[in-house]
Symmetry: C3
Subunit: 315 residues, 3 copies
């Protein structure tokens, strides 16, 4: 298969084959990060800009390390979504960055569609690192990578996604990825946090976590964003914990090979109990490790299309 996407904007736009190709490519990159010399010359002389208009430590770091381990030159540009809230100013800034002859812009911005907007107005490659509640494709990919690594397959697995489905780009990118790969996905949360027509994405809906746990192969627990709580999507944090907080007690009927996932950073004691986050089912730190491999694969593949000449794979 030959990779043909110049950008990575959404999982929705990818085919099953595209996704599988990224995951396979990531396998070969994962090994680099455990070498003594964690560096290959693959993207030497390429310029990649981390253009983050929302605060982020982990995702920004993960992309930066992925770029550096591929020997690219990485520049961090931090702005605020608010100062670039109008599409015009965002486009203007992006065109200026592009005029510096960068090869790739990795963008995080609070506006859904911001990555697509950029891709439409610049000639370099664009990678979506989260566009508001819309998508966060590399998170969907690294979650799928982690499941496949641990379970050997994704087809037919029962995956729960628990929490604030309505506002979660992680949920959306996970649903697209897992459905395309044949998983059976159920979203679980309070009715106020589940979007009206979510079934159209091919998922099941449940409001009762305890009923779903015994059937689950994977539980992906979303972060509760307390800053959204001024809009009262649920009565109290205490009630949320009681109904949807994942505790050891709640897992007593779980499958023995259950995987517990969380995109981080976790509110320990809220959506996930510390004993679960650090417990035997947890693959949370594997997700972090795999994030680098998946992002190295994405940078590599996208770069092979973005530039006129093909880049050589790692030596």
């Amino acid at each position: 298969m030959e990779w043909k996407h110049k950008h990575l904007l959404t999982i929705e736009q990818l085919s099953k084959e595209d996704i599988e190709y990224i995951l396979e490519t990531a396998v070969s990159f994962k090994e680099i990060s455990v070498r003594s010399v964690k560096k290959v010359p693959t993207l030497r002389g390429k310029t990649i800009v981390n253009f983050f208009c929302e605060p982020s430590t982990r995702t920004r770091m993960s992309f930066e390390l992925a770029a550096k381990r591929l020997s690219a030159d990485m520049l961090n540009v931090v702005s605020s979504s608010s100062s670039l809230s109008k599409g015009e100013s965002l486009k203007d800034t992006a065109r200026n960055i592009e005029a510096m002859k960068v090869d790739m812009i990795i963008i995080r911005h609070s506006m859904p569609g911001s990555a697509q907007l950029l891709a439409d107005c610049v000639s370099c490659s664009v990678i979506n690192a989260g566009d508001g509640p819309h998508e966060h494709p590399t998170q969907g990919l690294l979650d799928a990578y982690t499941i496949k690594e641990k379970k050997g397959r994704i087809q037919g697995l029962k995956v729960l996604i628990v929490g604030d489905i309505a506002h979660s780009r992680v949920a959306r990118s996970n649903i697209w990825t897992l459905k395309k790969l044949g998983a059976d996905v159920t979203v679980v949360g309070p009715s106020t946090l589940i979007p009206a027509e979510i079934e159209k994405m091919g998922v099941n809906v449940s409001y009762y976590l305890d009923e779903e746990i015994p059937k689950a192969d994977v539980i992906n627990i979303l972060r509760i964003q307390r800053e959204r709580q001024d809009r009262n999507f649920f009565p109290t944090l205490r009630e949320y914990i009681q109904l949807f907080g994942v505790s050891e007690a709640r897992l007593k009927n779980a499958k023995k090979d259950l995987l517990i996932m969380h995109p981080g950073p976790a509110n320990r004691g809220v959506e996930i109990d510390p004993a679960v986050a650090d417990g035997p089912y947890s693959v949370i730190l594997d997700q972090v490790t795999n994030g680098i491999a998946v992002r190295m694969a994405v940078l590599y593949l996208v770069s092979s299309v973005g530039s006129s000449k093909k880049v050589k794979m790692k030596s």
Copy 2:
């Protein structure tokens, strides 16, 4: 010609030959940024500090990319002009940076003369990236580079510089550069924003933009700094736009090969209309691209004097 300046502090101090030599050197560096591998080993093992005491994204990025494409090690140090407002504390900080055996300090600071102050107290090279309203030499150089690239010459061209001449380091560095290269420069703006004795710099003064436009080969539009507007240099923004905002309508009698320039970031709809910024006369993004080439040339030339041993030119 052999380059002999250890620092780049002002354009005023440079000769016509110096300026031409930088522009010629930049030609050979421009090509590097469009290669597949945008990197040469010219400054490998050199340490360059971006010491920015005023907020900046574009200039800082441009210097950082210039340094990285020359393989130098670049360190960003962000401070505030206010915390380093006294010359003593600025000198103290600079001497500490120098004691880390850096080869070059690129400084932006709100105090006129701050770059010179640094050059007087450290033994490494100093590059002025903007010292208050005084000078911004690399901007003057990149503007000249862009004009020459597009027009084939600078000698004899009629250049308008429009806006807040009084507070603009861009205006001052442009005037010095263009006058030394033989251009015919006219500054245009409200009388409150044109310094009293500006004619001594060899420029013409006009308060009527519409009269000047038909004669112009180049219009360089300065950014209106709204934060200065508490001192009421002009009655209202609306009146400013009416008299000095560059719109399509206003350009109807312009020469067909007019160049529209802006140092960025533009206030679209204020000093420049979006249709003009993105229109056929605009070379604004070329300025951004050329900024990297000019800064690579400056880093290269200055470095060849600053260090005891000559550095080799790009391979």
Copy 3:
């Protein structure tokens, strides 16, 4: 001697031989920073994270330059001690950083013991860049390096440490280092700023600076942290300056080969007079220069234990 410490957490834990070995190793690294090409491939492909939870420019820069001159990949992560005030959240963040397969975490945090806490929960190497008032081991080492470089020895020298001993990690790391190397250390300051049982560390205590100066070979002057002054450890700044501020007049009976040291950034005119900071006894800028050599040595030595394979020494 073979280096066997995977971490550098405190000077207290090191033997005299360990300290001497670091200082000897630093000698060979010092020369790299004055080369034309200030870079060796020693740590190429290693990932080092500068994890700073307190504001710092100098120490952060010094570690970053040390890492870059050894060709390591360096990532800056800035957080606030307050957002990571609970040990749990600090551990969680550290484990996430570690999961990105980094080789070393350099941590600065306001909590005493934070570096040890990290070392206990991650498998990579940890370097303490200051843990509250507890220790700042590389400062102790670079101060010892500077004394030895200037005096040829440390054994038997009389060293004064002047100022806020109670809250100073610099004081503590200096005392441990110098006592282990055989110096005669006297702490000097107002009684409110000298901890009750400090003599147990083997130092002399004095409240009268003028009595001690004529006997001193070295005076290490601590920074007065004005932000602590709300707790009124001394009546007024003016009184502090009168009793403990090091001025030229106060040094009139000093030995001719006295060394004046300060960890920076100095409050010029408070604990140290500008004429003394820039005067003939001052080795303050040597401390800054030596900081890089000592930190290169520490990164190199620690890395040789942290990774399974030995790294090669500089070429």
